[in-house]
Amino acid sequence: MVTASDHDAVMRSAGAVIPNQRARRTGSIGERSKALKRRKAVQKLAVGAGGAAAVVIAAIVAGMILNGIGFVGVMIAFGLILLAFVFAALLPGLPEPTPETIRQADLKTLAGKTEIWLERQRPALPAPAVTLIDGIGIRLDQLSPQLAMLGENDPAASEVRKLVGEYLPEMINGYRAIPEPLRRKDNGGSTPEEQLIGGLKTIDREIETMTGQIARGELDKLATRGRFLELKYDEGAADRD
């Protein structure tokens, strides 16, 4: 007979497997990381195409000097073109972001790098945390265009950097440092898993708040513009408060 606690255990182990599969299925948790990866792929393609073009030009020049390079020459050229693309494909991909590189990333790529880092962490995390990570990916996407508008030394920017580049990796690395069997053991009222989820929830909420705060300035500017037009052109608006 299957007891309730057995059932729970089965569900929990199933929950531990499911995210791993999903992590493999969907690559990116946000648009920013997708964009970073796409840019890298385009770069590689450009390297390959450049190599191919160089080979073709070399073949033409050789053909003109030698008065034709013959079948073998054409074959060699083809081989070299293929080699150029293979070489490009073998070039090192995106450097694996680490908490250190995330902290030093410029504001434009901060969100994307964090997303890539989070994607790598997903397989090691429990199911509810993976859902939260996906949510954080979306929040980071929303935050990113706003971050790009801030100056590097803006206090808001350093706040975001701390939250995303320090607290978030510390939370996840802290969890991963705990041996697997202990992760679901009660430790002072709550399990490490619950603590991780609580922390991620706070971070998720805080990213949203920060997005709102950064947008606040723009909202105010628009409201001020509207009020200015009222004051200037709408007679009597000055008396209405």
Binding site: T202, E206, D220, A223, T224, R225, F228, E230, L231, K232
Partner: protein, 409 residues
């Protein structure tokens, strides 16, 4: 022709310009700070329910348990968000440059330059424009006057560019006022939230006191613990909230002061532009009447169309004046008197503005001093609030605030 010679025709600025500097904002003491923003009864009862629930949970805990400590931490953290929000906004007033009051740039500088330029054209400063004929019989009478009116042609570009700058300066003042309006809306909201927190804090104070009195008989140790921790922190927080409320109220009122100043200054700038344009138009008419010279001030005319609404009143007045001036014989001193009067109007306006600025600066200074003092006082506990939060976060991640204003949720 028997024209009344005793009075010059009325010029543009017939009504007296009065600019009143608003009174300085007095220091608001914490004990008078609360109660400005009303909290509805419905909200109050909701907040009271929250407090009761929280206290029931607090009293249910063993005083030595970590749970009890956690609840006390929540009290020390109570209203942090509201405090920080209000603190971030209430000293905005101090950041706001008092641009109009600055004599070396902006509206102040433009007004000073306008005055200098206009003084050069003032007929009363030129002395005997009409008497030249008597002194040098050989020199035709018209020339001196013609020279004088030619001065307008060369000055008009300069004047119109100053007037243009003044219009821009006026727009800046209006923009400032728009920003102030937006800021005041936010401050009002922040004050509403603070008010709710103050209500929570005060209710908590009285309820904790009651609870402790009750417990004195059954569990004196617990009563003592509650008094020493919970009640102590509640009182401290109440004081912090009231102090911040005082600062915020003061900042709110101070912003209104800046706004009123700007409104007055806009009036002054409008009047200065109007009187200047009015004087120039009078000059055109006088030139026509006295020397039969068509004085064409294209740039000023062009300016008229852009500042049509301000000039509207002037225009009407001027048409009446024109008729009068033309009725008066050429060579009579009345047209020149009219012109002098028009210049006097400009000076009067500028003197009024200067006087206003002096008064307003005084008010402003007092307000800034009062507010700076209060903000300085509030810095201490804001640092304390920051420290506590940081400490709490270190211990067990950020705790969602159970005790926050309803409006901030």
């Amino acid at each position: 022709m028997d024209q009344p010679t005793q009075t010059a025709p009325p010029t543009a600025g017939a009504s007296k310009l009065e600019l009143t500097a608003p009174d300085p904002v007095p220091a608001v003491t914490p004990d008078r700070a609360s109660g400005l923003v009303p909290v509805s009864e419905e909200k109050k009862s909701k907040l009271d329910a929250k407090v009761d629930q929280f206290l029931a949970e607090l009293v249910a805990q063993d005083v030595n348990s970590p749970e009890f400590g956690k609840r006390v931490d929540q009290i020390t953290n109570m209203g942090r968000k509201e405090l920080m929000a209000a603190a971030g906004q209430s000293n905005r007033f101090l950041d706001r440059p008092v641009r109009a009051m600055d004599d070396s740039s902006g509206v102040g500088a433009d007004l000073a330059e306008l005055r200098r330029t206009v003084e050069d054209l003032d007929p009363s400063k030129r002395g005997k424009l009409l008497q030249k004929k008597k002194l040098f019989g050989v020199i035709p009478f018209g020339n001196k006057l013609r020279d004088y009116f030619d001065g307008y042609k060369s000055a008009q570009g300069h004047i119109s560019s100053i007037l243009d700058r003044l219009t821009n300066g006026k727009d800046e003042l209006l923009m400032d006022n728009a920003a102030i309006d937006v800021e005041r809306v936010k401050l009002w909201e922040a004050m509403g939230n603070l008010e709710q927190m103050i209500h929570i804090s005060k209710t908590m104070d009285s309820r904790i006191e009651e609870k402790a009195d009750e417990l004195d008989h059954s569990d004196p140790a617990k009563a003592k613990a509650i008094r020493e921790t919970a009640l102590f922190y509640v009182r401290q927080r109440t004081q912090d909230l009231l102090t911040q409320m005082a600062v915020t109220v003061q900042g709110y009122l101070a912003l209104d002061l800046v706004k009123k100043n700007n409104v007055e200054l806009v009036k002054g700038v409008d009047r200065a532009s109007t009187t200047t344009v009015g004087a120039l138009r009078t000059a055109v008419t006088v030139a026509q009447a006295m020397t039969n010279q068509r004085l064409v001030l294209d740039q000023i005319t062009a300016l008229n169309t852009t500042t049509a609404n301000i000039i509207e009143g002037t225009g009407r007045m001027m048409r009446e004046n024109t008729a009068l001036i033309h009725e008066q014989a050429a060579g009579s001193t009345i047209p020149l008197e009219t012109l002098s009067k028009a210049f006097q109007d400009i000076y009067d306006t500028m003197d009024t503005i200067d006087q206003f600025k002096l008064q307003a600066l005084g008010s402003m200074k007092q307000t800034v001093n009062a507010l700076e003092g209060e903000v300085e006082k509030s810095r201490g506990y804001i640092a304390r609030a920051e420290g506590q939060t940081a400490a709490l976060k270190d211990v067990r991640g950020a705790e969602p605030e159970l005790l926050s204003a309803l409006g901030a949720e």
